[in-house]
């Protein structure tokens, strides 16, 4: 703690002193390959060709801090802000370098968010100095932003969310591994005010982004459906059809204990258990707008 804070304080002090900046050309002297790589990135072009603030005009030192001590000391990690694993800076100080420019957009709710409070840094997931290579194992949607530390965004998330990697490989899945959707279609890992870092206010509002037909309002609504899709479905992958958490009729038996057929255990060879189980007949289970659709059969 003391080492990181002291270095941070020293950096902060130096950052105020213009004489401590040496310019990107000086950095290039020793870090030519990194400079050449970075200058072609969107950030490099913005800083080098179209700077909009004094901070951006500092080029490399915008992020790495003033370099005079580093140059005069002949290099070394103690005199410059590094973003690698051996960086001596605490997470929030590294993040502060990025947030100088990136606190807008999806990062508006970063501070105090799940990932910020668990000590993640921007460079836990992103790298800006190196282009990426096409993935072999999981495909992902085309994007203009490929600055991840792993080949795909999903694999970035799987670094910590290891269960999700197993779930997307299940037999019943959304087209994650086919590269049609990815984690950030539903979640904003930079922080949102919503549960589970969802982009929309609720689980259902998220699901309606692709399943607008389920949105209603319907004349006859099935309350657990309208309240939360995950009462019945596991969005990340399931070994049962339709991403269901349990096979029918047991899924429905959990809540339906009236009389007659919903209370009977039902043999495996009946229409209550095979094919789509209960929804063989109650097919409008997500909601019906038919005046005779009270049992979701019309």
């Amino acid at each position: 703690l003391s080492t990181g804070s002291a270095a941070g304080a020293a950096q902060a002090s130096q950052a105020q002193d213009e004489s401590q900046y040496v310019g990107s050309e000086a950095c290039k002297t020793c870090h030519e390959p990194s400079f050449q790589s970075w200058k072609d990135t969107a950030m490099g072009k913005a800083f080098l060709d179209h700077p909009q603030s004094p901070l951006e005009r500092r080029g490399c030192e915008s992020c790495h801090g003033p370099g005079r001590a580093h140059v005069e000391g002949g290099g070394g990690s103690a005199t410059i802000i590094g973003f690698g694993k051996t960086s001596g800076q605490p997470a929030q100080e590294l993040n502060a370098r990025c947030l100088q420019c990136h606190e807008k957009g999806m990062r508006l709710f970063w501070k105090g968010s799940t990932h910020e409070s668990r000590g993640l840094t921007c460079v836990t997931c992103h790298q800006v100095m190196q282009p990426n290579v096409p993935p072999l194992r999981f495909a992902e949607p085309l994007t203009g932003n490929r600055q991840f530390v792993k080949q795909t965004q999903m694999e970035v998330c799987f670094q910590c969310h290891k269960l999700r990697r197993a779930q997307v490989q299940r037999s019943s899945h959304m087209p994650f591994r086919e590269g049609k959707i990815t984690c950030s279609n539903c979640h904003n890992p930079h922080g949102t005010p919503n549960p589970a870092l969802l982009k929309e206010s609720t689980v259902n509002e998220n699901c309606y982004q692709c399943h607008a037909e389920r949105r209603g309002p319907f004349l006859w609504e099935h309350p657990p459906v309208m309240e939360n899709c995950t009462n019945c479905h596991e969005a990340h992958g399931s070994s049962r059809p339709q991403l269901l958490k349990a096979s029918m009729p047991r899924l429905c038996n959990q809540c339906h204990n009236e009389s007659r057929h919903p209370t009977t255990p039902q043999l495996a060879t009946t229409r209550f258990a095979f094919n789509r189980g209960c929804t063989n007949c109650h097919s409008m289970i997500h909601g019906s707008n038919h005046p005779s659709g009270v049992r979701f059969q019309r």
Binding site: L108, G112, P265, V294
Partner: protein, 739 residues
């Protein structure tokens, strides 16, 4: 740094094209569930990156994947640095449900399914005095008809086109406009019914169009910022009804309609405003807030109660007798209480959060969230309705506009004891107020802690534990008996049942993640997670929901250009639920509602995931990447009657264990790439996939013509939507060219 420089040599474009050959059993829909893998010539991906146009002021980037295939997608980005950007995206996603579906129904117009006249004349029982068909005769007729049935295309295609424009009018400001158009067209298997015991599966026509618009602006500076957005989504279903013939009846009769009609998803719209802002305050404190009101609308015209012309219509001045109604009085209301629902829902999400590091080692955040889901749709009383176009139900019904309000309060207080290492206490409170549900108010309190240790650059440990306690003190099981329960002819919900989303619940949740990289050569990671839900007050319904998972990962990098990995994940799930078989009173027997008819079901799921792989150079000019992965799931449902079968009134004769279900998905991929210089890299890739599935629920319908043994006269007329296993070899020779 020199080696690194070789890695990062930037190119302006790339393309990979080649030829592909497939072998093996690959007729299963699972093989091409969301993708298209044609044989022969293919263009895997291409990209053109013109990022330095006109003196480094403008950029244009165009990339594509699976070109000219049914899962193709393209992305075009162009604009002026720091000023504006256009982004256009086109994406096609197929969704194949089954390749085995067959039906003798014809679809002369969208959503209308008819039985060919000659066939119907065979299937419709002859009028008396000719003897009625026996079950066996009907089955033979159906089997003959289905032999000549047409093969169905049970697939969807989702086409999404979108355009985004962002503009930076001044430093700190952004403007954005986005439009997308999504079209879904196809058919999917869909169950319909005409009377209890007759399931007639048909291809549901899908022809959806969804337009979305979003526009907004944002301001951000060192002191904070704000965002204003408006978004709109308009959904249109171009086939709004499903009409189908009864193959066994060509004249309407009470209890035996000649056709059925079902209302498919209605058109709807949703609109939302979003206001979000944040202010950086003294003492490293940031205040964040958002308010997002939304509206959902739906006013599709109601269909009539039924298409069955044999059901008597009540006179317009008819006074419906009290429930239960005598059979002689049953008639369908002459009109509807309204022409449409005038469905209206308003949502309002409000969030406030204060995050502070006033004392840098003591991070603190406090948050409050409120989400209202107000349902202002009409609540209409239907004096009666027609069950499955069959007969008048004899029950009045009123639709209930369900709504809820959820409020959350959260506190997160941490202590950083080392660099990047902290322990934090958390508390959360949630209040859920519901309308028209069994439980109108529930409180849930959660306490827990988080522990993060990352002070050493080679060791990361993250752990968390939460305990939640949700009450359900005022649960009223009768709330649903009218208007959507069983009504006066049934018994209503068993009073001791607690629905899982409303029941009192104690939850324990723990997660641990460990990552160790003691050297650049080795790495090890492991994780453990469990969620244990105990519904102790639920005498019936779900009682336990317990799951565990753990993962091990190992990486080995013997050389800078070579890496190997191995992964293993195991998941275990266990659920226990309890129910009671109940029979309501009839003309000949009293109600049977005895604890001796209780039964219990336990579900156990076990899922294993394995993967091993290699990535790197095998020679100076040969890069080899390969992996094998296996996902194997096994599910068991055990059911047991809890009563004594020797006691009178014992009903639970169908409690049996279901056959185990399982599926396995293997994947082997091996890729050789030979960089030749000047950007040319020939590539040889082999992929093997194997999917095996055992599932009684699907295997028993592949005959797509089953007499349901649960009822003598019942019939299941399915489309035979099976998803069998597959074994597919995919060999591709391609050329990558970077330029």
């Amino acid at each position: 740094e020199k080696a690194f420089a070789q890695d990062v040599e930037r190119k302006k474009g790339h393309v990979e094209f080649g030829v592909r050959q497939l072998y093996g059993e690959r007729a299963s829909a699972k093989f091409t569930e969301y993708r298209h893998i044609p044989q022969g010539f293919f263009v895997q991906h291409f990209g053109l990156d013109l990022d330095d146009l006109l003196n480094n002021s403008f950029f244009a980037n165009f990339q594509g994947r699976e070109t000219l295939e049914r899962d193709q997608n393209y992305l075009l980005d162009l604009g002026k640095y720091r000023k504006y950007q256009f982004q256009f995206r086109w994406d096609q996603t197929p969704h194949l449900f089954t390749t085995t579906g067959k039906s003798f129904f014809l679809e002369p117009s969208a959503g209308v399914f008819t039985v060919p006249g000659p066939l119907r004349s065979l299937l419709v029982p002859p009028p008396p005095p000719a003897p009625a068909q026996t079950t066996q005769q009907r089955q033979v007729l159906l089997q003959d008809a289905l032999q000549d049935a047409r093969l169905l295309d049970l697939s969807l295609r989702r086409d999404i086109g979108s355009g985004t424009f962002t503009y930076v009018p001044a430093p700190h400001w952004d403007l954005g406009l986005q439009y997308s158009r999504e079209k879904q067209v196809g058919h999917r298997p869909f169950g319909t019914t005409m009377y209890f015991g007759f399931v007639n599966e048909l291809p549901e026509p899908i022809n959806y169009m969804t337009h979305k618009v979003k526009l907004g602006t944002e301001y951000g500076s060192e002191t904070g910022g704000f965002q204003l957005d408006y978004s709109s989504s308009i959904f249109n279903n171009r086939v709004s009804t499903l009409v189908w013939d009864n193959p066994f009846r060509n004249v309407d009769a009470v209890d035996n309609p000649s056709r059925g009609r079902l209302d498919l998803y209605p058109d709807n719209s949703a609109h939302k405003f979003s206001f979000a802002g944040a202010a950086n305050m003294p003492y490293s404190t940031r205040l964040m807030a958002s308010i997002a009101p939304g509206w959902m609308r739906q006013n599709d015209a109601f269909l009539p109660f039924t298409t069955n012309t044999a059901i008597p219509v009540c006179p317009s001045n008819y006074a419906f007798p009290a429930l239960p109604r005598p059979a002689a009085s049953l008639c369908v209301p002459s009109g509807l209480p309204a022409s449409d629902l005038d469905g209206r829902k308003q949502t309002l999400a409000m969030n406030f959060k204060l995050a502070s590091r006033g004392i840098s080692a003591l991070p603190l955040s406090v948050s409050y969230r409120s989400y209202d889901y107000n349902n202002d749709s009409r609540s209409l009383i239907f004096n009666d309705y027609v069950a499955s176009d069959m007969h008048v139900s004899g029950m009045a019904r009123r639709n209930l506009p369900f709504g809820y309000s959820r409020k959350n309060l959260g506190l997160d207080a941490g202590l950083e004891f080392l660099k990047n290492s902290s322990v934090a206490f958390l508390y959360q409170w949630e209040r859920l107020d519901r309308e028209h549900r069994d439980l109108e108010q529930a409180d849930e309190h959660t306490v827990g802690f988080k522990f993060d240790f990352n002070a050493l650059d080679w060791l990361l440990l993250k752990a968390s534990y939460r305990h939640s306690d949700r009450d359900a003190e005022h649960y009223e099981a009768d709330e649903e008996s009218f208007p959507i329960g069983e009504g006066p002819f049934g018994m209503g919900q068993i009073h001791e049942l607690r629905k899982l989303d409303e029941a009192a619940r104690k939850r324990h949740r723990a997660e641990v993640v460990l990552q160790m990289d003691p050297s650049e050569t080795y790495g090890f990671a492991a994780s453990y997670g469990t969620t244990q839900d105990d519904f102790a007050e639920s005498l019936y319904g779900l009682q336990k929901d317990i799951n565990y998972n753990y993962t091990f990962e190992f990486t080995f990098n013997p050389h800078r250009a070579v890496s190997l990995f191995a992964e293993y994940t195991r998941e275990k799930y266990k659920y226990r639920q309890r129910s009671r078989q109940r029979t309501p009173a009839s003309a000949t027997a009293a109600a049977n509602d005895s604890a001796n008819n209780d039964w219990e079901s336990v579900r156990r799921d076990l899922v294993d995931n394995w993967a091993v792989g290699w990535d790197g150079n095998v020679a100076e000019k040969a890069i080899f990447s390969a992996f094998y992965s296996l996902s194997a799931a096994k599910n068991r449902v055990s059911t047991l009657a809890l009563g004594n079968p020797r006691l009178p009134g014992f009903l639970v004769t169908t409690a049996q264990d279901y056959p185990d279900t399982s599926n396995r998905w293997h994947q082997v991929v091996a890729s050789f790439k030979f960089p030749l210089g000047r950007g040319f890299s020939p590539k040889l890739e082999y992929r093997y996939e194997r999917y095996d599935r055992i599932d009684f629920a699907l295997e028993s319908v592949v005959q797509y013509n089953i007499l349901d043994v649960s009822l003598v006269n019942s019939i299941f007329l399915g489309v035979g939507a099976d998803i069998p296993g597959y074994r597919a070899h995919n060999i591709a020779v391609s050329l990558e060219y970077d330029f």
